[in-house]
Symmetry: C2
Subunit: 179 residues, 2 copies
Amino acid sequence: MENGNRRRIAIDMDEVLADTLSHYLAEYNREFGENITKDVLARRKLADIIPSERRARLRHYALCDGFFLGIPLMPGSAEVFAELRERYEVFIATAAMEFPTSFNEKYAWIKTHFPDFPDTHIVFCGDKGILASDFLIDDSPRQLARFTGSPFLFSAPHNHAETRYPRLNDWQDVRKQFL
Amino acid sequence: MENGNRRRIAIDMDEVLADTLSHYLAEYNREFGENITKDVLARRKLADIIPSERRARLRHYALCDGFFLGIPLMPGSAEVFAELRERYEVFIATAAMEFPTSFNEKYAWIKTHFPDFPDTHIVFCGDKGILASDFLIDDSPRQLARFTGSPFLFSAPHNHAETRYPRLNDWQDVRKQFL
């Protein structure tokens, strides 16, 4: 997997580069006049703490124009991501097929936040077992289980009980691990 | 790369599953009242045989709404593709990043022609070196050069002089090679 002397890292978008959960929270809080924070969700999924009749709203948000484009960067991601690009061959790999309406916005999101990131190194996929990479940083245990390189779990409330993979709690952990 | 007992094949879309060149030709012939056939192009690129002032029209066609969705199947592809899916783990891998406006239509094209093909096995990428697959069938020598599995060149006029890779002239050749 060598490209010159650089090893390859594939990095997930939602919940890793992009703070998707905060964006769901912001939409939810705005619609229902609540003030749920990420801290409250430390070990729970958002869908599990809200009234069941409101759960369908979460998928609705993701299907609305502008949702994916409006997701903020994960705190600390931009700086460490830039440093990783100097030392590794970096791919952005996102399971875009889960929301096929999201292609254009996910592409625009990358171009907005990382304007010089090469199109050649963007992957929209479903099953990340297809990635030929030395490392994968992802919040999804299901994706890490299919990956054939070295998997790293990026912490998110939904994966707090997962113990099979080395865990990176935030982007400072990514820096410590890889830089 | 085993998944159960099945080996993995990644298959390109444009000029392999999809007869993209015929679609360019149809658009060009319609606009300019010509009757250029694929036979005429046996060893030449379309861009090389048309007046230079018309070349920009080719890229224009690809940027028009409906172009990618309207591309016909490559002759013989549907039947052999179905047979491959019974024996291999098949991914469709397309360099969609070359035309970022094409994401939605490429996805819709797959759903139109192969409605039961799983989203998990669709890959929109740039550099196919990222594919972890036993085989790649592609018309692009540049992509095959980056691929780390066994490459197969699907014949197209633009690649007639390429000799580095095993060549598949049509979908009957794909059947003979893999089935």
